[in-house]
Structure formats: C-alpha cells, structure tokens
C-alpha cells in the first residue's frame, strides 16, 4: 500500500537526508547506467487533458500521474516563442505544439534535442497521413490507432522505422486484415 522504497538509508547530515529523500523519483540506475533513449512521450491538450501517454521506463502509476501533472503544468505555462527544450529534474523535455495538442518527450540530458523534435514531427506526419489532416478528435476517438502507429514508429523509445511509407504500409496491412474480418462478420451476422 505504501510506495516507500525499501531499505532506504538515511544519513545523518541533513543535506544528504534531502538527497536521499527528496531526490528524483526515477530509479537512479535507469538513466545513468542503462541509457534509455526516450523515457516517455505525452500528448496533451491546451486544457491539460492527457490524450496519449507512452512510458519507456518502468514506473508506478502513481509516479506516472505525478510526472504528468507536473509536466503538463510546466509546459503549459511556457510562452509561445520560448525554446522547445527545458531541463526538468534530471531529464530534458522536448516539446512542440501542433494546433491544440502538445507533444512532449522526455529524453536524457545528453541526448539529441533536435532529432527528438523531428521524431515528434514525423509522428505528427504519420498521424496526419493516416487520418487525413489529423485533429485532436481523431486521436481521442481512435486512441488505439494512435498507439499502434506509435509502436510501429518507435519501439522501446528508439526509432524503429523512420520511413513514412513503411510505417503506414504496416498499419494499412493491419487495417486490411481488420476490414476482411469485419466484412466476414457482417456476412455472418446479418444474413438478412
């Protein structure tokens, strides 16, 4: 019930006390030793509603909610002409606004910010191509598709396939399978 980390050692001198207790909640080893490229990606609206979340590091639901809440607030507070990158805790946040949606990625400190910005853009292009000038509503009502497209494009936080054509081909093939089945079901379910 309590998400306290076991065996936490608290040293006597108070500044250290804070390092241990108040320090980052992301597990330390995750980003120092194991080099995850992207830690997570969030899509949220101007009103702060979360539309899509993809986590590439293992975190508890509580931690995810906390991060989301803080980050949405931080990003929404920024003015339009500001830099697309910001340092946040031990991470770097790369974000860009498309119409009413903010796309926001967390990468490691030493990662490439510009290429991450273009990862966001490529994902937007993919959504746009698939839905045909995508809007926020498409992502709300077809959230599962948005996830499928993302999985084809990024896997485990790394670019899997950067060719727009290839990603869409994979998704369309899957849709084709779906339509075939839907067609069969229709035949089956409505004999009249």
């Amino acid at each position: 019930m309590f998400a306290l980390v076991a065996n936490q050692k608290v040293v006597i001198d108070w500044p250290c006390f804070w390092v241990v207790l108040g320090g980052s909640f992301l597990p330390r080893g995750v980003y120092t030793v194991l080099l995850f490229k992207m830690q997570f990606m969030l899509l949220f609206s101007r009103q702060g509603k979360l539309r899509l979340q993809k986590w590439y590091v293992p975190l508890s639901d509580k931690e995810k909610k906390k991060i989301t809440r803080e980050l949405v607030q931080t990003v929404l507070a920024r003015k339009p002409k500001m830099c697309s990158f910001l340092e946040w805790r031990d991470l770097k946040i790369v974000y860009k606004r498309y119409a009413s949606l903010y796309f926001c990625c967390a990468i490691e400190d030493q990662d490439n910010e510009l290429i991450t910005l273009e990862i966001i853009h490529r994902y937007v292009e993919l959504l746009d191509k698939y839905f045909g000038s995508v809007c926020e509503l498409d992502i709300i009502f077809n959230f599962e598709k948005a996830y499928f497209i993302l999985d084809e494009f990024l896997l485990g936080g790394e670019a899997q396939e950067t060719s727009k054509k290839n990603v869409l081909k994979a998704i369309e093939q899957a849709d084709l399978l779906q339509e075939n089945i839907d067609f069969q079901m229709r035949l089956f379910a409505a004999p009249s």
């Binding site: 309590f2 998400a3 306290l4 608290v10 040293v11 006597i12 001198d13 108070w14 500044p15 250290c16 006390f17 390092v19 241990v20 108040g22 320090g23 980052s24 330390r28 194991l34 080099l35 995850f36 979360l50 899509l52 979340q53 639901d61 003015k79 002409k81 500001m82 830099c83 697309s84 990158f85 910001l86 031990d90 490439n112 910010e113 510009l114 290429i115 910005l117 273009e118 990862i119 853009h121 959230f143 599962e144 996830y147 999985d151 896997l155 485990g156 790394e158 670019a159 899997q160 396939e161 950067t162 060719s163 093939q173 899957a174 779906q178 089945i181 839907d182 079901m185 229709r186 379910a189």
Partner: protein, 968 residues
C-alpha cells in the same frame, strides 16, 4: 444493438467516448464511468460467454477509462484471452491493453508469455511483430527469462522479414536494459554487428540502437562496428539528397541513422586505423561544410534535421578532443548559432559550447564569444536559455576574464529568476575565490553577492568566506573595514554579517553593533551574544555595559532557548570567571586547515543526486561542520598551519604564533591608511576578531556547556532530570508548523540527536518513519521513545519499541502507523529518553507533525461546483477566517507548492481574481468525511493575506485556519 452495427469499428466505444466528452462536470464523468464499469463487470461475470468482438470492445473501453486517469482492477483476464484470438484486431487490442496496463501479476505474466510464445512461432510476421512489441513495451524480468534466448535467433535468421528484424532488435535492446545478465549475445555478436551493413535502412536504424547499447557494455567484443559505422556514415553523408528515397527527410539523408551512427562512434576512442580515421574526419568535415551551404528548404524540419546531425558530429569531435582544427571549426559554427534567430539553436549552441570550453584546444576560441554570451544573459527572454548562458560564462571563466564575468553574473543576479539564484550565487562565490587576484576584489564581490542575493546565500558560502579571511591576515584589515562601513550605511541587508564586524573604539563598536540587534534573526542574535562575551574578554571597559545588556529581561528571559541560554551563561561567565579563565575559554581559534571548498561541493550537489555520490556529500558536510565547530582539533594540528593549497592563498598562511602575539594589541589603524579621518581612534586588531568568529557559530565550543544535559551554568531549577516525560519543548509548535505542508524532513536537531521524518498518508491512515541519528561519537544507552495522543480516541498511533542502544554516529529507524479516528486539534507527543556515558537522562518531548490536513484527499471541481458548495457551507460557524501578515515569500510558485503540500487540490480558473488561490479537499477520518474549501487572498502590496476556510465541520475550519495562518 443489432449485430450489423459491429461492422463499423466499435460503435459502442465511440458512443461511450462521446458520452464522456459531453459530461459537464467531473462528477458527471465519474458517474458515467462507474456506470460503464458496472456494466462491463456484469458482462464479464455474466453466464453468457462473450464473443470476441464484445470482449474487444469492453477491453478497449476499460483501456480508455484507464487512460482518463482512473484505476482499473479487472479485465486483465479478458485481455489475455484476446491474445489467443486468431482475429488480428482482437489480438491487437489484447496486446495494447497488456502493454499499457500490465502489472507484475505473475499468474497473468505466465499466460501472457504463453500467448506471446505462440505468436512468435506462428511464422506470421504481423503476429510476430505484435508479440515483439508487447515484449518491448512491458520488458519485465519474467519476459526476459522466457524470451531472451529466442529473440537473437529471430534477429539474425536469414528468412526473417525485415519488419520483424527491426522489432526483434529493439525488443532485445529493451530486455538487455532490464536484465543484462539474461541476454547473452556470444555467438550472435558478429552477425548482429553486420546488421550495420544490411540493405534495408530500417533494419540498420533499429539494429544500431542495440549495437550502441551493447558496445557500451562490451566495447572490445563489438569493436569491429567502428569501421562498419564509419563506412555507412560516409555513404550517407556523401549521398545526394534524393538517393535514400523515403529515408530522406526534408532533403536530409537519413538524419536519424546518421545521428545514431555518430552516437555509436562516441562509445569508442578515435579509430586507430589511419584509413578509417581519415574517412571519418572527411565525414565530419563534410558535415561542417554542409552547415555553411545555403539551405535546400526553408522548412524548419530541414534545418532541424541538418543541425541535429551537426550537433551530434560536434559531440563526437569534442569526445575525441584530438583534432584542434575540427574543434575550432566547431566552435566557430556554434558562435554563428549564438546569434541565430531560432531560440532552439541559441540554446543548443550555448549548451554545446560549455563542453567545448573545457577542451584546451578550443578554450580560447570559446572565450572570443564572451560578449555575445553576456548579451544573451541580459537579453534572452527564456529563462532556460539564460541559464545556459550563465553556465557557459562559468565554464569559460579564467583568470583573464574573471572580473568581467563575475561582474556580469552579479548584475544578472539582481533580476535573475528565483529558480536559479541559489546556483548562481554558488557559482559567483566559487569564481570569485578561484580567480581572486586581490583580496579587496574578493571581499567586495562577496559582500555584493550578499547584498544582492542575501536570501539565497547559503551557509556554505559565508562559512567559506570567514574561513578564508581567518586564514589570511593580510585580507582581514580590508574585510573588517569594508564590513564595518557597510554595517554603518546599510544595516538591514546584512543579517548574519553583523556578527563579524567588530571595529572602532570598543564601546562605539559595541553600540553600533547592538543598535542593530533587534533587527536580526535569532541565529544572528546568538552570534552577536557570543561576540559580546568576546568584547568583555578583549576590552574589560565594556564589561559593565554588556552585562547590563545581557541582564535585561529581553535577553535573560528570551523565549528562544538558545538565546536565553547564551545570555545566562555569558552573564555568569563574565561575573564568575577571572580574567585568566575568560581569556582561556575565549582563546582564539587556530587557522583552518586548507581543504576543498565547501561551496564547490554544494554546487556539485545541486547538479543533481546523480552527479555526486552520497559519501562525497557526507564529506563536504562534515567539512562544513568542522568549519564552524572545529572543537575536535587539538592544539597540535593548529600550531602547524598547512601551506595554502587554496587558489586564494597567494602567500602561505602566517604562522599562528605571530597572530597570537598581535591579539589584544590595539595598534592597527586601518582607516588612517584609507584616509577615513572621521574615525581617528585606534582600532582593535581585526585579526583576532575574525579569528574568534567561528567560535560563536557553535555554542558548544564556546563553553562546552550545551553538550551536557544540565549545563553547569544553567539555573538548576529549570531542567531537573526526571523519569516523567518532559513537557513539550518550547519550540515544539514551531517545529510542527514546519511540517504542515510537507511530509519529509528533519523534525528536530540538537548537538546530540537528529530526528528525521518521512511519512505518507492514504485516506484516514498514515505511516511515519522516524529516523533517530546519534550525532555524537558515544553510544546512547537505554534509548526509548513513547508516543502519546492527547484528547480522547481521536488518533490511534501504533509503534514498535526501538533498539535501546544507539551507537555513536549510527541511526535507527522506527515506524509508526497512524489512524485518524475523528478530527483532532492536538498533535501526538513523542517523548524520547536516553542517557550518555550512563550519565544524566536526556528527556525530550516533541510534537509529532501529524496534523488534520494530512488526511486530505484532493478534490478537483469546476468553478460552478466550487461556488455552489461554498454557498452550501454558509453557516457562520462553518467558516473560519483570518487576516494576517506574510511571514514568508509571497512568490506564486512557493505558495502553490505549499497549498499542494497541504494535501488539497489547487483549483485553477475558479476564483474570478487570478491572484487568489482556491483549494478543495476532503478530510478522511474513520467515522466521517469532512469536505473543506479554502480561499487564500494575497495582498502583495500590504504583504497581507486573508484566509477563509469553510468546512462541513466547524472545529476543522478553526483548526485548519490556525495551522495555515502560520504557513504563509
């Protein structure tokens, strides 16, 4: 619903999503969701077996509900069932649900793994990819155990489809990150490396991430990847913008792959093979050249992709740090970006230059951009860019430009954002110390620093200054004179510096000092009192005046224990002790041994927990501790001053003996040197006074009294040792107030004991971890703690007894379980008893920071809901209001943090006045729930607040109002 409608997607899902979107309030949404959850639950539990489509639809709805932020505790089994469906879409939704919602329920994982195993062996590439995506998304240890040996085979098999290979490579990477011990490449190594040569660019893009990660761990085994990567990079860089077809992104060939290749090369030193190296240098030069070419497109995507490669190439150049030509070119390129119209590029250029500044080849080149960087610090509109500029100035600082940079940073500090001030202060302090060529500059800089950013100057900074001043008698004259002048003219800003100023004719000095006494904070007053006793020692003629001061009620009966104790002890000391005894007790401190700057350690710490290990911090703090209370050092070490290793130490420290002979003589006239003729009287030796300073920071050193439970000079009646729990400390309430808005921290600390607290609350339950640290080097015996709750059955606190022995320097932990039965006002009391050396019993009672607000559950609500409820709570006794003066900063972020720390939800866009804060929450007790609404109206001009609380229970309104009025 007719079956036909199943055809067009999942209509039920779309209808549900529309319903949710149409909900006018959060409550309506929750109601709708609960209705849906009940429906799904009944469908899943129903006798009738669901068909695949319905299962898919309901699982999808659950997923949607989860993504809205609600907890889902069922449906996992149905999702797992979908995995084994042979219909693609059902399988796909099943996998999605598992990927998003998996928890480490081992029973389930086994079933999931079974389904994955089937799909992996199905030979159907689409199914295989789905299964691989799922492994990559979940990446649990159990999955690694099941598949870590299977996936490399899929990855390198000749007949595997390209898309499957791509997924397999990244899937393996994820497993390697979670469980490196289970992923054994061994025989596959060379075939994996050769994926860099694969025809399919997508395969290379995916595989290179895996190879990079593996190379970092086993650089030798993967060494062959360097030459392959170089040739691949070379082919991409030299290709025309259309050669790579769909892998060209806005006229830039394969930007992602290029960046990854350059990143891989950063795992290795420069290639030893001359041909390979030549080819790589050529690539890097081409990349730098391309940056100068006119853009092929005006789209920002084109320049971003191109520059992404450029920055990665510059990283590699910096990593090699061996090609002066390339380093200087990189620096020039970044210099151009410093003035680019794109904020992003300016940010990145500043950041990248920071690393260039540390290379000996490019340091000078970076320095040429100083004016641009200073300009950025002054004019950038985005604080994160300004922060980068400040970092770069710090990195490029050396003896030649220190004065300019420090001056700029100081002037920036006046307007700097609160978030970065403390770090800036540390940086200025470090640079001032590191590059000081004359003391007057150093002292002026630090004084300016304190004037400009007094609140952000941490203890370490001024400890360090005093340490330096004490160790160097040639700086003392100037320092004392300057501080004295400042004190004369600008008294209000200098807080703790008062204690360090003792100059002029003794009585004049004393009166000047004492005239500011009432303006000072408690710690400063404590320092001043210690300074007074030293006056008595050095200038017997001041004795009568000072004793009078100490004797007056405001000192000797001061409500602050520390001040009271000092006043009483010093008074007694001055009247009982002979001149000799007094002189011995107050003998000056020897100079400090030179050691690493405590501020440097502090800066490292600020750079995040990852940057410095805990032991390092330990050291730095220990050092700071010694700095202010070097009581342990015997006279032996003191008599051999270490030669100055410090950068400031231009000449080595004067021997202590010489300093001591000066003490007490009244001959140094600093002012006559500088022409300040209005202070013609002789001055006391500054040296001795500065030397005395650190003593006064640590009361235990002054007389060695406070360490004892019953101080020698303490009136015996005031603290009789007893077996009954002592009454709560006078500051217990103050300590309690510090924890109203936070759950973790140090509750109490004195010379012997530190008590840290970490606590968490859920509903009406709480758990508190207490950490008792023995700060001394001797054992605490018969250590025991008891918790008692005043009032009747309001709180139920359970604890286990603690270990009776606490070794010196050790820490023990105690867990308390707390249950809130009903609302309460009085905090539970914690009594601690222990003895040292088997001597007098220490008996200490504190209030545990358990306050009613800890049991808050935040409640989000809309503006209309809020005001509706506000009106409902309109009975006069339900409201409590207080108007009070601001005791702390009125900064918005600070206030928000406090209100969130309170446990309520901070509601935006509710109050028509955006300056006001509105919060809502429900206090959970065992018996009932108490709704609370809060409104805080700051008046920045008057530095006042009006706080209004309305709760469904009147006692709670009052108590919360009392508690909160102390917080702002």
């Amino acid at each position: 619903m007719p079956a036909v409608s199943k055809g067009d997607g999942m209509r039920g899902l779309a209808v549900f999503i529309s319903d949710i979107r149409n909900c006018k309030s959060k409550e309506a949404e929750i109601k709708r969701i609960n209705k849906e959850l009940a429906n799904i639950r009944s469908k899943f539990k129903g006798d009738k077996a669901l068909d695949g489509y319905s299962k898919k639809k309901y699982v999808c709805k659950l997923l949607f509900i989860f993504l809205l932020g609600h907890d889902i505790d069922f449906g996992h089994m149905e999702a797992v069932n979908l995995l084994s469906s042979n219909k693609y879409t059902e399988k796909q939704i099943g996998y999605l649900f598992i990927s998003v919602l998996v928890n480490s329920n081992s029973e389930l994982i086994r079933l999931i793994n079974n389904a994955i195993k089937n799909d992996l062996s199905s030979r159907n590439p689409t199914f295989m990819c789905l299964a691989l995506h799922c492994i990559a998304n979940v990446g649990s240890r159990e999955m690694a155990e099941a598949f870590a040996s299977e996936i490399p085979r899929i990855l390198v098999a000749g007949d595997t489809m390209d898309s499957v290979k791509q997924s397999a490579a990244l899937c393996l990477l994820r497993l390697y990150k979670t469980s490196p011990d289970l992923v054994l490449m061994g025989e596959w190594t060379s075939r994996v490396v050769h994926l860099l040569n694969d025809q399919h660019m997508g395969v290379v893009t995916a595989a290179i991430s895996l190879i990079t990660c593996l190379s970092q761990k086993n650089p030798d085994e993967f060494k062959t990847c360097v030459s392959l990567a170089v040739s691949r990079l070379s082919r991409i860089v030299s290709s025309a913008s259309t050669d790579l077809q769909d892998y060209t992104y806005y006229f830039v060939p394969a930007p992602w792959l290029s960046c990854k290749l350059l990143r891989l090369l950063q795992c290795y030193p420069p290639p030893e093979d001359g041909a390979v190296k030549g080819r790589l240098v050529e690539c890097l030069e081409t990349i730098l050249n391309k940056a100068q070419e006119p853009p092929k497109s005006k789209k920002v995507q084109h320049s971003n992709a191109k520059n992404a490669i450029l920055f990665e190439a510059i990283s590699l150049i910096i990593h090699y740090d061996s090609e002066p030509n390339l380093l200087v070119r990189a620096c020039n390129q970044l210099g151009q970006f410093l003035q680019h119209r794109e904020t992003n590029l300016r940010y990145l250029a500043l950041e990248s230059m920071c690393t260039l500044a540390s290379s000996e080849f490019s340091h000078e080149a970076v320095k040429t951009h100083i004016e641009t960087v200073i300009n950025a610090l002054k004019t950038e509109r985005d604080v994160s860019v300004r922060q980068r500029a400040a970092d770069l100035l710090y990195a490029m600082c050396d003896r030649s430009n220190a004065k300019q940079i420090v001056a700029e940073m100081l002037s920036y500090l006046e307007t700097a954002d609160y978030s970065i001030r403390e770090e800036m202060v540390l940086k200025v302090a470090i640079l001032a110390e590191k590059y000081a060529v004359d003391y007057s500059w150093y002292v002026d800089t630090i004084l300016n620093l304190i004037r400009i950013a007094g609140d952000y100057v941490s203890e370490e900074v001024w400890y360090r200054v005093i340490q330096i001043v004490i160790n160097r008698d040639d700086v003392q004259g100037y320092a004392a004179k300057t501080v004295f002048e400042v004190l004369l003219h600008e008294p209000s800003k200098f807080g703790r510096w008062f204690g360090s100023v003792l100059l002029g004719r003794p009585l004049v000095q004393f009166n000047l000092l004492h005239s500011k006494f009432h303006l000072c904070s408690v710690p400063t007053r404590a320092l001043l009192l210690s300074a007074y006793i030293k006056f008595i020692n050095l200038f017997p003629e001041t004795k009568a005046t000072i004793q009078e001061v100490l004797r007056c009620d405001s000192q000797i009966r001061n409500s602050d224990v520390e001040l009271q104790q000092r006043a009483v002890e010093y008074l007694k000391l001055s009247s009982i002790a002979s001149t000799d005894v007094l002189a011995t007790v107050l003998e000056e401190m020897p100079p400090f041994p030179e050691r690493e700057s405590s501020i440097l350690a502090k800066l490292k710490k600020k750079k995040g927990p990852g940057a410095v290990s805990v032991t390092e911090l330990d050291d730095s703090k220990r050092e700071a501790g010694e700095l202010n209370g070097g009581a342990d050092r015997g006279p032996d070490t003191a008599s051999t001053p270490s030669p100055s290793a410090d950068l400031l130490g231009i000449r080595s420290a004067a021997p202590v003996g010489a300093a001591q002979t000066n003490a007490g003589s009244l001959l140094v006239d600093v002012f006559s040197d500088s022409g300040c003729s209005h202070f013609p009287f002789p001055l006391l030796p500054i040296h001795s006074l500065f030397v005395l300073l650190p003593i006064c920071f640590h009361p235990c050193f002054v007389l060695g009294l406070s360490l004892h439970p019953c101080p020698v000079l303490w009136p015996p009646s005031s603290a009789p040792p007893s077996e009954d729990p002592a009454p709560p400390l006078s500051e217990a309430d103050e300590l309690l107030n510090k924890f109203v808005c936070k759950n973790n921290g140090v509750l109490f600390e004195n010379q012997l004991l530190q008590i840290g607290i970490k606590s968490e609350y859920r509903q009406n339950l709480g758990r508190m971890y207490l950490f008792y640290g023995n700060k001394t080097s001797v054992q605490f015996a018969s250590f025991s703690t008891t918790v008692s709750c005043p009032g009747e059955l309001q709180l139920n606190v359970q604890s286990k007894p603690v270990e009776p022995l606490v070794e010196g320097g050790a820490q023990i932990q105690q867990v308390l379980n707390i249950e809130c039965i009903t609302d309460f006002c009085d905090a539970p009391l914690l009594n601690i008893k222990f003895s040292r050396y088997g001597g007098a019993l220490q008996n200490l009672t504190l209030k545990l920071p358990v306050t009613i607000n800890k049991f808050f559950q935040p409640t989000e609500m809309s503006s209309s809901d809020f005001f509706q409820r506000w009106k409902q709570l309109s009975q006069p006794q339900q409201e409590a209001q207080k108007i009070f003066k601001a005791n702390h900063s009125m900064d918005t972020e600070v206030l928000k943090a406090k209100l969130l720390g309170l446990g309520t939800a901070l509601l935006d866009n509710v109050d028509p006045n955006p300056e006001n804060y509105v919060c809502a929450g429900v206090i959970q007790t065992k018996g009932q729930q108490i709704g609370c609404l809060l409104r805080l109206e700051p008046n920045a001009q008057a530095q006042m607040y009006r706080l209004t609380l309305r709760c469904s229970k009147d006692t709670v309104s009052k108590r919360l109002c009392e508690l909160l009025a102390q917080q702002f």
